[in-house]
Amino acid sequence: MIAIDINGRSRSVDATPETPLLYVLRDNLKLNGAKYGCGLGQCGACTVLLDGKPVFSCLTPVGSLAGRRVRTIESLGTEASPSPLQRAFIDEQAAQCGYCSAGMVMRAQALLETNPGASDTEIRARMQTNLCRCGTHMRILRAVRRAAAALGSASASPPQAGMRDGAVK
């Protein structure tokens, strides 16, 4: 059994150390937000946050996660109460098939947590890693820009109590 910290909870999983984190999330823990796209670190559909930074969970062996914190899209918001970034994706209708969305949101989340008012150039540079085969890139960029504009102006006010890891919630 391997213990990993996922979305603030310690979870014990029955897997060999080299098993990709993505398989553990989806198969063992039934956290199906992160998607299996290519399994080769080329598409970004499996992006999750590791200690606040985006990684491809398909290329992250679960045995390498001792003492580290994993966050998936399930940690952001709910259908009833989406996070600001999820809200922006909905408002911009930034999905067609939606398979890449969870990875897109998590990569943008990592950017906005460290750089809430990210510029268009910064957003484009950072989101480059993740692919969308439906071609909704322009809407995705608009959604991230919308969230950046909202968060950029909000970050001028002092942070609210209860924000962990600089999490934008």
Partner: protein, 426 residues
């Protein structure tokens, strides 16, 4: 009385040195001219220039990321600070539009700008001194038929005394022209001249001159290591002319790996060069130092036997490095001797895993290797966010000993620690 004579002697000596230095470092300004009229440049000459400019990789240093071609502004990192490349488009005010062919030739050969100031030898004029009048005229013709772009040069940011340009005159006295006579064969003429291979692959001395006695022994460039070439190459299988020509034109060598770091831009430019020229360079470079020594030959034979399945691969260690390899690398790189795609070089053959320093291998693991803008092809993602410093050490140790079958790197932990500090992971 005696003191007076001494004082006089010092005065005369000082004055004489100052006069000599002034004479050495002063160069006349070449009168500005109007750019050549449209249509006055023979297209065939400009075409020949295009071939030379591709071989010279001029676009790489003279085009800023996202900037206009040849408009300069690239920050060049040196041990003495930053300097910025200049605009070599035919813009009259900010480029070389007002330069006569004579002024351009003087700059290419001796590193003196049109107005008489010294250019720094980051501009590899000691190599270009080997070019013929005709070749320089062809490069001039090509550059003068580019689109003029207004982009003023940025101020350099060099430490004292390197910020005194006139001191380059002393450097020239010591190191220019290159002490090695230009070779007579076509490949040597290109490699030593316009292609300036030694500018990266030959180690430099304390004040930045190539140490010609260690030509092509390998050198550190922009945080990467430009490997030794020819007989001293660390590659498990010695380079052949055919494979080197293939690599230069496409950035991929089936038995050595893929161009990364500063070499990636070089091979991208060489893709536009004449294949005959690339074969000539390849023959010259592959032949440096003669054939590989018996130890390397034996290793190559052994490596080829493993590849063909007639000999067993090196024994594998277990432990954390092996687990990370299995979970993060093996999906594409398989067992290191086979690959997921035919476009990939087996890891065991990668030059970076057989080099004396883990630097290049580590940089590829941290940053990945990405196709250039508008280029197709698979990418290797960077693992800077995935792996801790200790995990980097573990996986590199495994790659080195269990995949490449080489003796362990001894400076692994220090290299990882220092490079992680330099890197700004995404």
């Amino acid at each position: 009385m005696r003191l007076g004579r001494l004082f006089l002697a010092v005065l005369i000596l000082g004055g004489a040195s100052a006069a000599a230095f002034t004479a050495l470092s002063w160069h006349r300004s070449d009168a500005p001219v109007s750019p050549p009229a449209a249509g006055s440049i023979p297209p065939a000459l400009a075409t020949e220039g295009a071939r030379l400019v591709a071989l010279g990789n001029c676009a790489d240093c003279h085009t800023a990321p996202g900037g206009r071609p040849y408009a300069g502004g690239v920050a060049i990192q040196t041990p003495y600070g930053h300097l910025f490349s200049t605009n070599i488009t035919p813009d009259t005010a900010t480029g070389i539009g007002a330069w006569s062919l004579a002024a351009f030739t003087r700059a290419m050969r001796t590193g003196i700008s049109r107005d008489g100031h010294h250019l720094y030898p980051a501009f590899p004029y000691p190599h270009y001194a080997a070019l013929s009048e005709h070749e320089i005229a062809a490069i001039y013709a090509y550059l003068m038929t580019r689109k003029p772009i207004s982009a003023a040069a940025r101020d350099d940011d060099l430490a004292f005394p390197f910020n005194i340009r006139a001191l380059v005159a002393v450097w020239n006295l010591l190191y220019w022209p290159a002490t090695v006579p230009p070779p007579e064969d076509a490949g040597g003429h290109i490699a030593e001249g316009i292609a300036h291979c030694g500018a990266c692959h030959t180690p430099r001395n304390q004040i930045g001159a190539e140490r010609t006695e260690s030509a092509y022994a390998g050198a550190d460039v922009d945080g990467w290591h430009a490997p030794a070439l020819g007989a001293a190459s660390p590659a498990p299988i010695p380079w052949t002319e055919a494979e080197l020509a293939l690599y230069l034109s496409g950035g991929v060598a089936p038995h050595h790996g893929v161009a990364a770091g500063p070499m990636q831009a070089v091979t991208a430019n060489l893709a536009f060069a004449d294949p005959a020229d690339l074969h000539a360079i390849a023959a010259y470079i592959a032949g440096i130092g003669g054939p590989a020594d018996p130890v390397r030959q034996a290793r190559a034979t052994q490596t080829e036997a493993i590849l063909s399945g007639t000999a067993p691969p090196p024994p594998r260690s277990g432990g954390p490095g092996a687990e990370i390899y299995a979970g993060a690398c093996a999906i594409c790189h398989q067992d290191g001797w086979h690959t997921l795609s035919q476009n990939l070089t087996p890891l065991a053959l990668a030059t970076s895993l057989s080099e004396a320093s883990p630097r290049n291998a580590l940089r590829v693991i941290l940053e990945g290797r990405h196709p250039r803008e508008s280029e197709a092809g698979p990418q290797m993602p960077g693992f800077a966010n995935n792996l801790t410093a200790q995990q980097m050490v573990d996986v590199l140790a495994y790659l080195r000993t269990s995949i490449a079958g080489r003796p362990a790197w001894t400076d692994l932990a220090e290299t990882v620690a220092s490079m992680r500090r330099e890197q700004e992971p995404q």
